[in-house]
Structures are given as structure tokens and as C-alpha cells.
Symmetry: C2
Subunit: 462 residues, 2 copies
Amino acid sequence: MTPEEFRRFGHEAIDWVADYLRDVRDLPVLPDVTPGDIAKQLPSAGPAQGEPMNAILRDFRELIVPGLTQWNHPRFHAYFSVSSSGPGILGELLCAAVNVNGMLWKSAPAATELEQVALDWLRQWIGLPEEFFGIIYDTASMSSFHAIAAARELADPDVREKGMTLPLVLYTSEQSHSSIEKAALALGIGRNNVRRIPADAKFRMRVDLLRREIEVDRAAGRKPFCVVATVGTTSTSSIDPVPEIARIAEEHGLWLHVDASYAGSAAIVPEFQWILDGAEHADSLVLNPHKWLFTPIDLSAFYTRRPEILRRAFSLVPEYLKTADGGRAINYMDYGIQLGRRFRALKLWFVMRSFGRDGIAAILRAHVRWAQELASIIENHPDFEVAAPVPLSLVCFRYRGTDDQNRRLLDAINASGVTFLSHTVLNGRFTLRLAIGHFAVTWEDVMTSWRAVQDAAVTIAK
Amino acid sequence: MTPEEFRRFGHEAIDWVADYLRDVRDLPVLPDVTPGDIAKQLPSAGPAQGEPMNAILRDFRELIVPGLTQWNHPRFHAYFSVSSSGPGILGELLCAAVNVNGMLWKSAPAATELEQVALDWLRQWIGLPEEFFGIIYDTASMSSFHAIAAARELADPDVREKGMTLPLVLYTSEQSHSSIEKAALALGIGRNNVRRIPADAKFRMRVDLLRREIEVDRAAGRKPFCVVATVGTTSTSSIDPVPEIARIAEEHGLWLHVDASYAGSAAIVPEFQWILDGAEHADSLVLNPHKWLFTPIDLSAFYTRRPEILRRAFSLVPEYLKTADGGRAINYMDYGIQLGRRFRALKLWFVMRSFGRDGIAAILRAHVRWAQELASIIENHPDFEVAAPVPLSLVCFRYRGTDDQNRRLLDAINASGVTFLSHTVLNGRFTLRLAIGHFAVTWEDVMTSWRAVQDAAVTIAK
């Protein structure tokens, strides 16, 4: 493909994307496919000779897109509603073109410095103190992995050389994300050494039980080393009492990691800045702009006030990567397991500049207001009930019926193609989740989704 | 940004990329900047109000691009020469637009199935047996991390629950990539339990010493569990004797992981398929299309014949991610630590189809031929010597002088902006590395770079 061919097909691709952003509401959110449907339309071997780009783009449009769940659809309300805005997409395009690897400052000076600058802007917007050092990882799974690895390093400085030898214990809420347990098992800590502290009626970690568990472990000769609090849990968006957890962490010398992957962005809105109360005492915090900040997947923003510990845990510089900048420049490869680092900061910078802080705050504020208005509509409907508090933009609710009816309701809603919801289990009961978060979602979209829920409920009731 | 504004600025961005691809040779490969130069041109806080996109694109062009090391420049010969081709860039653009997260089959059916299909095509092209299961991770660091984690799981099925308790020992060559040691320290194995087996005169792992070390560890009551062989080491592109290593691995029940991150792509060329001899006996293998397969960073292709072990190591499905597909569909989240998964397969599929197998083979064949021709030119030059065999597209060489002169030579070459080389240390001596790998590099580029080396040498000699 010559640069001129790239220009031609690039314009074609941009037109497709513009049309897609304009018309995505016409697509079913969840495609009507079964496993194998897409693969069987594709050749079983790659082509010996190159194929023309118009055939490739046609197959993308005709075979691939109809087989995708449309995450960038404003009525995608499952899991968390993420979205990829125009400025973010342009950032990704340009990132792919320059194709730098920001492993070292020298290998991509502007990428390293823009990562520091953009994360510092974001730090100010969410109200974290200045001493927090920012680094971008791919996903929250990896951000939390690095947090727990740094905590492990602090608790046992021999671990790097000798491997795991101490019985280290990690604390988190039973409502915390599975990535915390995954990190613990990957790091050789073991699931048996992860204490899942029960939550209260509002799905927040019970600090009395946290304190008790720590004392039990201490008495038994084990070594508590880390506590992970969640601001915006996956099931219900509940917010752990971080200030109290921070006090316990300080008392017992535990690393405090705050998982604000989804909800952290809300702290940009002045009236929601309280959700990060206590996080100023944390050792680390994660917030995913690819969740609720209109940035294409993937981009996870990680902050720590102890970058030297993270660096001690991961720095390993072979001869072929040594540079003469010694000390003056940040080499981000020293702060993580991944050597290859895309220029992710670019898209975040595009998004922050294009929307501006107030623009972002206005959209997030609307999402929360709509979630709360929807909750109030649901609460007043005779056939439905709200299943958890709605502090932010996620509504958990149930049809007043059996678990099986709720399960069938969810399938019927999603089969409509109008909207896509997901589920969780709360207090042992199957519960529907409706998350609002797309940069272009409207109140009308929310009402369209709610109508789809009610329509499906009619079918279920039969 | 409305869809129509996206269209307008998208066309502008595409034109910039097309111009960039056409004119990138006019840019210095390594920018003339010092730490802080870029950051100080940027505001210290993000804007409250959104800014116009033309200002953002202008700053990208004027402040960011001149501060980047141009990895997508055909005369970028440092580290490994990676490149981002037009079809790959279009794939990334479309990936960002649809913005799916392929954690579950259901969350992105076509992304999951295309990942299987594209990796199967690539598997056939490099001649791996059919039983190898493919999965895409972000980087080779993570691919090798998952390989070693699976090996750990096989060696100690209690590790998931109880954490690391056995003294597990890993073997790799002293020439292997730093990511292997990083994975071992992250996984709680400890650097003391990584045996870095000395290499022979051609920088290949010495199998006699591998065997001896395993026996010593066995005798001491430690548990050998994994050996990592490298096909294309970072310093010299040497190729470990995989068939013999595979025999030892089988004898001792070790997991064999083959790190072919850079060189694996060469197996697409019929006359280089031998480089993967023995890999058919491996438990896992990694190959990075974002290295020598014209695919934008990041995309690491991982293959294993034991996906069930990988799954046992990492599967952890919380209620909110349970789906009803049970067994019929692959949920890639079960095979790794990262829950968020971009639709990386798309760009690989675009690249494979657009170039075709023969088209890719022709380019890689030329890269190797040029590297060998350059080596022969260097060998015949009175002031230079070739420092390692050149089996593929990397030339290691030295100026016949002191280490300090070679160091100054490298700085002078890179300061020219004409080309960018990196270094390593071989047999205790500072050595220059020139890697050829860009999709659009020409013999003329190689000669231009070589002239820049000679010109710089004149300065040094003074």
C-alpha cells in the first residue's frame, strides 16, 4: 500500500467511521449470532497473494461489524458503559501512524513527557495531591497488579531475589473486582491469602470486620501487607469508606490501593469529588479513562505516591536498553512488567482538550442525574424494584418475580437489540444492571432502553 | 465533536498520516531534545473549556511529532526495527471506532472468532502444528509471563490457592530477554531461581550446561519447572538449539517456552522456516507481529498446546461475567490476567490479507539479504569488524577501536538524524547494532545509514 493508496482508503475508512458514529443507534446492540457463525464465513487459511484493500474493508463492514457487540452504541448499558469519542479515535489513528514504543524516554521523548503532563492534568482534575506519580498501563487489571506487586515489594524486599517466602495477606471487599484476586494469584500470594471482607447493606466494605481479620492474621503469625478499597464496585457502584480504611491501613502499615477504575472519573465533577475522600492517603489509585472518560480502550491511569517502590519492584535494565540520561529522565519501562508501551497518552490528551474539564463534568453529571431519575421511575413501577443505592450512573434493579423470570427478562431485553444490559447477583438474587456512560447517550436513549425492559417484561409475565 | 466534525478532522488526520508515511525520511530519526523540552511547552493544567480540534491537531504536528523518536522511519535501525504499515494503521482506526472489549465471546463475538482465525492463519504460515491454540496479548513481556505462569501451574497445582511454596527453578540463556527474568520476579519465583545458562561462541544456549544445571538443582532438592529458549535473541538474533533443548525439557518434565518475539515472523519465508525447528515440541511460543510483521504496536501472538493449563492458572469468573455459552465459545478472559482486551486481531488480519503470505516473505527475505550484504561490506572495511553471526536481519559490528570510541561513534551516528542505531555488549565489548525491518526500507536506505556510520567514524578518528 503506497502512501497515496493509504490516503484513498483512509478517507474511505474515515467516512465509514463518521457514518458509524452517526448511525450506530440503528444497529442491534447485541448481535444475533451463535458461536462459530463468523469464523465459518472466513477462509481457513490466509491468502498467498495480497488482496485489494476494498475487499478487506468490505469484509470488515459486512462480516465483522454485524458480528460485534456494539460497545460504542449509546444504549450499550451492560458491564460499564464505555465509549470511544471522536477525539479519542483520532488520537488512536495518529498513535498507530507514529508507532512509537515509549519504553525509554529516549525511545519516545514526547510520548514520555505527554504521559506525565496528561496524567498530571487528570490528577488535578480529580483532586489528588501533587506527590502522586502517574503512569499509564493497558488495563485496570494490570494497574492493580502493579499496585499489589509494589505492596509486596515493600512488605518483603527479598521477594525480587528469593521469590515469595512470607505468608502475605491481602484484604479487599467481597464486592471488589475479580482482577484483585487474579493479581494475587499471579503474584504467588495465593487466593487463600486474600480475605474477602463482607460488605454492609449498601455493599460497602465493613471496616469493623476488616480490622478484626487483620488482627486474627497478625495473631496467627501471618503478615498483612495490602488492602484494596473500591470506589465504584462492579456489581453496584458502591463506594467503600476509604477514609476509615486509610486509617486502618496506616495503623497496620498496609499498602492502600484504591480501585476507582470506573467511578474515579466522576471526581472531575465538583459535587462528586467526595467519592475520592481518603484517597489522598492511598499509596496507589487506578482510574480508567477507557471506562467513563470517552477514551478508546485501552488506557488505565495509575497513580502512586511511592514510585520508588514500584521501580524497585520492576526495574531491570539489560545492557541493550541502557541510556545515558541517568536520573534526568523517566524511563517508564522501569515501572512495570511490560517493555512495549504504546503512546496511549495521546488519545487521553486529545479527549481532555477537546471536551475540556467542564464539558466532561457536564456529561458525567447528566449521566448520574439520568441514572437517579431512572431509579426513581423503576422504584415507582409496580412490577420492578431497585436493588441497590444509585450513587453514580449504574442502576441495579429486579423484576418483582423469580430469579428465573429475571434471567428470562434479561435474555428477552438483549434479544430485542434495542439495548444491552448485564446482570449480577445481590443478596443471592439475580439482578439486572443498567449502566449509563456513553459520551453521546441521551435521556431519550435511557427511556428507549427502559421501554425495551418493560416490553420484555410483558413477554415474561405471559 | 459531532460525526460531521469527526469526518472533517478525520480527513485532515488521514492526509497528515499519508504525508507522514510519504515524507518520514525527511525527519531526523532521533529528535534533538533534552528531558523536559516537550513538557515545558505544554500548559501545566488541562483546559476548563473544550478547545477546537484544529488547535489540537496543530499542537500534535508542531509540538509532539518533532519530539518523537521516529520508530516508523525506514532508517530506524535501533533495538528491533518495527513498523506500522498502512493496512495496520487502518485496522487500528477501525478498532478504536468500534471500541469493543473482547473479554467474553458474547462481549465481542466477531473479535473472538477473528482472533482465532487470524492466529490460525499465522500458525499455518510459520509451520506450527494444528494443536497449538492462539491468543493475543499486548506484549511479548506478557506472553512470556503467561507462559511461565502456566508452567508454574503445571508444576504446582496448589499455587493458585496457596501461593508460591515450592522452590521452582527456571532456565534460560544468558542472552535471553530481560522480560523472562521480570516475569519470574513478578510471579514470585525470584531471580535467584532463574538460571542464566552461558552461551556458546555464537551466542546460543549451551545445552550441556543446561543439562548440568538441571541436575545440580535436582540433586539439591529444588524443582526445575520451565526452560525458555530464544529464537532471535535481542543482542545478536542468535537462535538457541531448540530441538536439543526440547529433548532435555521432555526428559525432565519441564515446560518449554520459545521466545521468538522478533525472529518468529521469518519462519513465514520457506528458506527460514528451519528457525522454528523443535518448536513443534514446545509447550508455548511467542511471536510479535508488532515487531517484524508490519503491525502497529501492540500485538503479541501467543501459542500453546496446553490451553487448559493456562486456563486453570487464570480462570476466575465472577457472577457479573458469567454467560450461558458454557463450553461452546472461547472466553479469552479465562486465559489471562487482563480482563480488558482490545480488538487487536483486526489489524493483524488487515496486514496478512493486504500483504499476503508471499508478499510478506518477499520483504523479509530482502531484509535478511541486505543485512548479510551489509555484514559482508563491514567485514571488508579496514576500520570495522562484524561482531556476531548474521542469521537474520540484525548486524552487530564494531569500529576497530576502543569501547569509548565505539560509544562516541554511536552518539555521533545518532546525532546525525540520518539513522538511529542501538548497542549491546558482546564478550565484554561495546558493540553497535543495526536492525533492518521496516516494511518500506530499501537497500538505498541501508546504504545511507552505512554512509552515516562511516561519516561519523571520520569524526571519531580525529
